[in-house]
Symmetry: C2
DNA sequence: CACCCGTGCTGATCTCGATCAGTTCAGCCG
DNA sequence: CGGCTGAACTGATCGAGATCAGCACGGGTG
């Protein structure tokens, strides 16, 4: 996390102290047991160090919409803290390692180091940009474009933290999770994945995504990654 | 805007000065001409005083996904400033009145008044919560539920600024805009509206939405407004 | 060992909502 | 005045993706 934020902000000694103080509260959580529950109040936020997590909303009829996946370096549940009541749930996809950030720590950060506050706001904006792009996909792209775009985005985000490349990445998600993220049925995800494999543009097998033809894939999905790596002027 | 933020933060004199300094730069813009364009750099943000606006993304093939509508009291283009490059466009739906907020003003706010910074972050989080709920609708609700939920949310947001109630609200949106927001065709929006009118739960006619049966409507749409009015602990 | 259970995978059928192709009506402008 | 445009509205047809039903496999766990 420090590495990641450090890319965007030149950190001063007091800022570094503040951040490293946080490192005391390292925790690990196992895959599958909810970390944050929809409707819960006064949650802590977390910074994800290793493993994948997933934030989702449950509808009363039992349907699930996955809002986003978090990978190492991402915040978990920042919005739950800011709004005080969590409007979504978070579950680790794999076993994860996190550090807890209390509400009071955030207050400290805002009072003492406006630059770090700006960094947090930047991170929140980037998260929102990801959600917005997700919305565009679900609203206006067909199943294949949607899936391709989603996996490309995930690949680009992972590449930023050294866990992926234009060749592919390791991916612990099941076809059911992909379905709930993309607003499709698992059956249909399966079919679309088969078509992409047969067309030689993408293979998802045994927990690994391979971009068989990165150029054709980005063209097909109309993938434009600018929203992922731009840097705000507040942080220059 | 001051009224709205004032609900959430007890403002100190220097904070009030800072805010009222901003009021110098009042502008008006006409309906239909883009205020911010996708891909543009170094945009200003705006605070909306009167009228409605709409933020959307355009796909290369000409399709449009409307991400959110903004009503009086909302920020416009906050994310464009924070990410430096705008990942979306904004167009006034009606003639609007705004005040411009420069990037440098935001820097000021962050440096001088951490509480106002927290308020801005809170506003951004609430915006994100709205987008997330929108995503859930597009991903997992059928056309009727989606439309009902959307109009209820809009009504609740308008009620917060005194422009709507459980009886209904004035709504300048065309069926085409509703379609682009909800990921449906305008034709289908029309049919669904007719069904709701015939079922006596909702009427949308001549620029006015009437909730004919608010209780039945919230039940049908499974509308839960908590995410709209919760207040963060940073602001207490 | 047998027995689950989760995940991947597939064929057959159904359906919601898109698309196409119009009509009507209310401004608005020459 | 007639012609034009944009929005609301409607019927007929089509198709992407859901749903249902089922098989195969591999890795736990009694």
């Amino acid at each position: 996390m420090i590495r990641k934020l450090g890319v965007f902000v030149v950190l001063s000694p007091p800022e570094l102290t503040l951040l490293s103080d946080l490192q005391q509260r390292r925790r690990t959580y196992v895959a599958g047991r909810d970390l944050v529950d929809q409707g819960q109040a006064d949650q802590a936020a977390y910074i994800l160090h290793s493993g994948w997590a997933c934030s989702y909303k449950l509808l009363p009829d039992g349907q699930r919409q996955i809002v986003d996946f978090q990978i190492p370096g991402d915040f978990l549940g920042l919005r739950s803290v800011l709004l005080r009541i969590s409007d979504h749930s978070i579950v680790p996809v794999t076993d994860i390692e996190v550090t807890e950030v209390q509400t009071s720590d955030l207050l400290d950060i805002f009072a003492k180091t406006p630059r770090l506050a700006a960094a947090v706001l930047w991170a929140a904006s980037r998260d929102e940009a990801v959600v917005v792009e997700h919305l565009v996909g679900v609203g206006r792209r067909d199943a294949a474009e949607r899936l391709a775009h989603f996996l490309l985005e995930l690949g680009a985000r992972l590449a930023l933290v050294g866990m992926g490349s234009k060749a592919g990445f390791d991916c612990p998600l099941s076809q059911y999770m992909l379905a709930d993220a993309l607003g499709l049925s698992a059956v249909h995800i399966n079919r679309v994945l088969r078509q992409m494999r047969e067309n030689g543009i993408l293979t998802f097998r045994d927990g690994h995504v391979t971009f068989d033809n990165y150029a054709r894939l980005t063209e097909f999905a109309q993938f434009d990654p600018t929203y992922l790596d731009e840097l705000g002027p507040l942080l220059k």
